[in-house]
Amino acid sequence: MTAIQRLPLDPTAHLRAEDIEAIGRELDAIRDAVLATRGEADAAYIRKVIDAQRKVELASRAVLLVSLFPPAWLAGTIGLSISKILENMEIGHNVMHGQWDWMRDPKIHSTTWEWDNASPSSMWKHSHNQIHHAYTNVLGKDNDLGYGIMRVDEDQRWSPFYLGQPLWNFLNACLFEYGIAAYDLEIGKYLKGRKDKAEFRQQVRDVMAKIKKQATRDYVLHPLLSGPSALSTLGANATANLVRNWWTHSVIMCGHFPTGIATFTKTSIEGETRGEWYLRQMLGAGNISGGKLLHLMTGNLSFQIEHHLYPDLPSNRYAEVAPKVREVFERYGLPYVTGSLPRQVGSAWKKVLRLSLPNDFARKAVGAVVKPLASTATRAEPERAAA
């Protein structure tokens, strides 16, 4: 991936300004159709998911009280991992997007929700909803791009620091919830002196308070309650957190890293029209193909494209709008990036590895070895995931 306007083949080059505005109108119509039918069934859906998640959590924690017994450990750990994943993704992420605010239920509302994650909801909402969604894949604006510690785009200048990025990425995956909190704190911005000190200190206090609560629950109280099973319960809770971190990290990498997804330069989004905004969201995200269970467990971020087009539509409706959105992509000749989970995760990791080295490293290295053949080498086509 490279800033879209500099790609050898700009995927939007064939679109006239009228086309882009027509795309905007078509996508608005798809949105309006969902809004017109949003109602009781949707409300019942989210209530059912919340109800199920809480019951799974309760049951798993109960089973873990006797986690010394290996089948109990296994069942409890699997259950707790599932519950934590649901809580973060299909519930927390989507509720905090305001997808369910229309229900006017103060218990399921973006302004009141707090999630099982190190980053306090108010901080996360700011960096995610206001920065990432507004500046999706804009280089230098969207911190989700490489989280400020990784080189995820050819247009980012290489430095030896990035040699370590496969390791950074691995560690970030293991500790993802803390990674999110760290970058919601905008530590880089603070270090550069571009963030208010008092505000930063207050946010650090909030994050630490939240981490303390979570850690007390998972690593002190529930283990203590398990009596003789204390250590194995602690292990189970740590495992569940690790599984959740790995899973959410993988899903989120698939959303914006795989090959074929475009990035944008800062200047390209100035004075963006509604149609152009939609276009950037369309090209800056990628989906994961799979069945209903996958969609549920990814919080429907497997429909990352639809989510970016319509961040506040109820997540259970993405599946139904996806074919309509894809049809618009196809009609206007735009690449709709999607692939299976292993394939997209693989593609994202491949990029992390490749970009840890300077851009032309591979070519130079190959060139040095097979110099005599260099004159006949042709330029590689940019890779593109199958639409």
């Binding site: 109602g39 019942a44 809480r54 309760l58 229309w102 229900m103 006017r104 302004t111 099982d116 109280l221």
Partner: protein, 377 residues
């Protein structure tokens, strides 16, 4: 017109004193609840208890509909089992009910019509479906036993004093009979001389007709039914003719806006507003002007608003969690600070302005945008 002093607070206190744990048990209870919160974070223990029994919560009051009894073609009584946190009510008061309709929670106020101290602990409301009314039609035509609704504690000062005055007159119209029925059912034995002047379009539209006519027949009250389809609307000149000793009576009145406005004017003219008590079901909207853009600052939502729709409705429609109460300007449950701009009181037309840095408190349920404005919600 006076507002009778009532004692809902003392009632609540009585209950909470009974429930208060013994002093020695307090640190233990406190410790346990802290432990519960630490175990459940980021949720609270009641979030898990709600899964098992939505009525058990001591924090969020809910109720379960146990019976829906038709009263007339377009009115029904709902018998509701309130949750553990219910603190009781005084006849004449109303309760707010939150119902999820097409997935959207909507709150409305309904007067309590039940007998106090029912063995099953249930309360009752009686709802008249109005044309295009979202909640009233749902409750009358679609609600079934088992439905769980959100509740609020009873409130309102349209109540009788502990010792009712010797000579009473109730003037009601349509569904306005409901708070009065609550009083009659519970306090008729304490009333010596009572007249009920009730208007409804036809004899069939009279809610509680059987019960009222039986009371009238047994001589415990004097019932005057007025069927407006044939008799016409109640006018000021009819009053003295229908109730010859009207000047000696203390009056409780509830009904449509027109009727209440007429009564207010008549009693104001005679300088006896101290003996007229009224209950309105909706605000009397008189002033509508130009609207503007409204910003709900804490929720970070900005929408266009016309000059006739209360900010409460505008905010709710935009998904903002608006605090609310009676929705008609009497309870102050909807008050929020106006940070900037201008709003108009829909009842009086009075415009309230704020400049940046201000926090002028306004009632969102009867205030509409009068130009661009920002409100802290």
């Amino acid at each position: 017109m006076v507002r009778t002093l009532t004692l809902p607070v003392s009632h609540a206190d009585a209950v909470s004193i009974l429930e208060r744990p013994a002093a020695a048990g307090r640190p233990l209870r406190h410790g346990l609840s802290r432990l519960g919160r630490a175990l459940a974070t980021p949720l609270v223990p009641t979030d898990f208890l709600d899964l098992l029994d939505p009525l058990a919560s001591a924090v969020d009051l809910r109720g379960r509909v146990v019976e829906v009894r038709p009263e007339t073609a377009d009115a029904a009584t709902l018998v509701i089992k309130p949750g553990r946190a219910w603190r009781g009510h005084v006849p004449g008061q109303y309760v707010r009910i939150g119902v999820d309709i097409d997935g959207v929670r909507r709150w409305r106020a309904y007067s309590l019509t039940s007998h106090l101290g029912r063995a099953d602990g249930c309360i009752a409301i009686t709802v008249k479906a109005i044309p295009d009314g979202i909640v009233s039609n749902y409750l009358v035509r679609r609600a079934t036993p088992g439905l769980v609704v959100q509740l609020d504690q009873a409130t309102g000062d349209f109540t009788l004093p502990a010792r009712p005055p010797a000579h009473l007159l109730f003037i009601t119209g349509g569904s306005g009979i409901t708070p009065v029925m609550g009083m009659l059912r519970n306090a008729i034995d304490a009333m010596d001389d009572v007249v009920l002047l009730h208007s409804a379009p036809t004899a069939q539209d009279v809610i509680f007709a059987g019960e009222l006519r039986a009371l009238g027949g047994s001589g415990r009250l004097r019932l005057i039914e007025r069927h407006t389809d044939v008799d016409g609307m109640l006018g000021a000149s009819d009053l003295a003719e229908l109730v010859d000793d009207i000047g000696f009576r203390e009056v409780w009145a509830c009904g449509p806006t027109g009727m209440l406005d007429m009564l207010d004017a008549a009693w104001t003219a005679s300088g006896r507003t101290d003996v007229l008590h009224t209950e309105r079901f909706r605000p009397a909207i008189t002033a509508v002007g130009d609207g503007g853009t409204v910003t709900f600052t804490s929720s970070d939502v900005t929408v266009a608003a016309d000059g006739g729709t209360p900010l409460l409705d505008i905010g709710e429609a935009a998904g903002v969690l608006m605090p609310s109460g009676c929705r008609m300007g009497i309870c102050f449950g909807c008050v929020r600070p106006l940070r900037d701009g201008a709003v108009r009181d829909l009842r009086t037309g009075q415009v309230t302005e704020a400049i940046e840095g201000d926090g002028v408190l306004v009632q969102t349920c009867i205030s509409a945008a009068a130009g661009p404005c920002s409100i802290d919600v």
